[in-house]
């Protein structure tokens, strides 16, 4: 019998919030409560650490990210994906000849399932270099799970004994499950829960959980608010600087209206939030302005633009008094049911180039060992071709990149290149052999979350064999 402990956490949060409101006697904003509630001082504050979630919206095709390279497995891949004669490209199979430059050789001797040898997508030359340099690792077949699951258990009608993540194969829900372990509508992500534990490590707690990609539940905590930043810096209320419809007086009136105190509780609350936001904009942009990076970030790459501002914020960490930060960046366009071969390679290049530039920037800033980036996505995709692309899957392969990473190697279990094996649930949709909880726990431990705190971040972690997959030495 499995009870979904995610709900327990939500309940505890609600009770604590209710108590907090009762204590303060009025509906003070959550941010105002931050100071009052600064409980967990769990982390060693002497150093800096940052986690960066790189979310690939739409469900990236992992089969053309990490491609079988040894002849036996390549031929299986090639046959299932409809390749052309003589190991050439066809349908959604990449030609074998195109893989030689990005074929991976682990730095340590590793024997994978069926003696698999992988190559990265030919566009991913940057990540190939980081893998070779031992700075990038690959987590094989990871995805949402409520509990370890075999194919027989997946096929069993007994969902009490063998619960599944909610709404598998659905974009919105699996994005939410990856980020928060619950389906769409969930309000607290595991990055945010890590942030909750880190709040007291930072002088400005609002700068603990930061999204450069708009609203994302991953970086929303119970107490940790999500701070949003644009690629150009903190988001400004432009008319306050430039005037309104050509009138500075109207701009000034706007400032007065949206910032002055009010005797009405809700109005007053609203203007408090606005004042705080305007104040933070000034602080953040002032801290960012002296930070310039020599590392070149690729142009016309929205992920790179987001990762650049994250790198600059990390460069401003001392000015901003930040010791522990969780960042979220994203790239969309991965739902390649159609035109997979036309669109996916360019996305792979953007991911690889952006993550490589970001790693180089952390080296330039002297914090390569303090920053870990990892990829995530709605789900993997089918191994089989629909003629022009691939369809929604489950487990996927993901990257973990950073100076502290035991790179140049694989973690987890490689799936068979098959649409009939027992590590997939049909058409090559991978049944995850590693859970998001385990991946998250390994990252959280490195960040400073203690063993006893892990279940508050990843409530189901106790069901899985290991909470440390070994990404870090």
């Amino acid at each position: 019998m499995h009870i979904d402990k995610t709900k327990d956490i939500t309940r505890r949060v609600m009770m604590r919030r209710a108590l907090g409101l009762a204590m303060t006697g009025s509906a003070l904003p959550l941010a105002m409560n931050l100071a009052a509630f600064g409980e967990a001082a769990a982390f060693d504050n002497s150093d800096y650490k940052a986690l960066v979630c790189v979310f690939l919206y739409g469900g990236s095709d992992h089969n053309n990210t990490l491609i079988p390279y040894d002849l036996d497995n390549y031929d299986r891949y090639h046959a299932i994906r409809g390749g052309g004669p003589g190991r050439t490209a066809g349908h959604i199979a990449v030609a074998r000849a195109d893989l030689s430059a990005t074929a991976l050789t682990p730095l340590v001797s590793q024997t994978l399932t069926d003696d698999l040898r992988y190559a990265l997508n030919p566009q991913m030359t940057g990540l190939k270099s980081l893998f070779d340099a031992g700075k990038a690792a690959i987590q094989l077949n990871v995805g949402p799970l409520m509990t370890p699951l075999t194919l027989a258990q997946f096929n069993s009608p007994n969902r009490v004994l063998y619960p599944l993540p909610p709404k598998l194969f659905s974009h919105n829900d699996q994005q939410s499950v990856w980020q928060s372990l619950a389906s769409e509508g969930s309000t607290i992500g595991w990055g945010g829960r890590i942030g909750d534990l880190a709040l007291s490590s930072n002088n400005r707690s609002i700068l603990t959980c930061i999204s450069a990609a708009g609203n994302a539940v991953f970086v929303s905590g119970d107490q940790a608010l999500q701070y949003q930043i644009s690629p150009n810096g903190a988001v400004a209320i432009n008319p306050l600087q430039t005037g309104l419809y050509g009138s500075q007086a109207a701009g000034d009136a706007l400032r007065t209206l949206i910032t002055r105190t009010s005797s009405h509780v809700l109005e007053d609350e609203f203007t408090k939030v606005t004042r705080r936001s305007i104040e933070m904009e000034g602080i953040v942009n002032a801290a960012l302005s002296p930070v310039s990076l020599n590392t070149a970030f690729p142009a016309n790459n929205s992920l790179a633009a987001q990762m650049r501002i994250v790198a600059r914020l990390i460069g401003a960490r001392n000015t901003l008094g930040a010791k522990r930060q969780v960042f979220f960046v994203s790239l969309g366009g991965f739902d390649n049911h159609d035109l997979l071969m036309e669109n996916h390679p360019a996305l792979m290049r953007q991911v690889s180039d952006a993550m490589t530039a970001f790693y180089n920037a952390t080296v330039e800033l002297g914090v390569a060992n303090k920053v870990t980036a990892f990829t995530a996505s709605d789900f993997g995709r089918t191994l089989s071709s629909n003629g022009n692309g691939s369809d929604h899957g489950w487990g996927s392969h993901h990257f973990v990149v950073g100076g502290a990473v035991n790179g140049g190697r694989y973690f987890g279990t490689a799936p068979h290149i098959s649409i009939t094996s027992d590590d997939q649930v049909g058409q090559g949709r991978l049944l995850p052999s590693t859970s998001v909880d385990q991946m998250g726990a390994t990252l959280a431990r490195w960040f400073g979350v203690s063993n006893s705190e892990l279940p508050t971040v990843l409530p189901n972690i106790g069901r899985f064999g290991s909470s440390n997959l070994g990404y870090f030495s």
Partner: protein, 52 residues
């Protein structure tokens, strides 16, 4: 004031009126800008935004 059900305080009305009165009103474009600015200021004010 259709938008606000007469809930804008006299303070707020004064702030908006004073600001708008500084804007030129000669041409049609200038009049239109006055209208736009006034509408935006009303709709950005907490007294409008918080439903009571």
């Amino acid at each position: 004031m259709k938008f606000t059900a007469n809930q804008l305080s006299s303070d707020t009305r004064t702030i908006i009126r004073d600001a708008i009165n500084t804007m030129p009103s000669g041409s049609d474009d200038e009049k239109r800008r006055r209208l736009h600015a006034a509408t935006l200021l009303v709709m950005a004010s907490p007294e409008y935004l918080v439903q009571k």
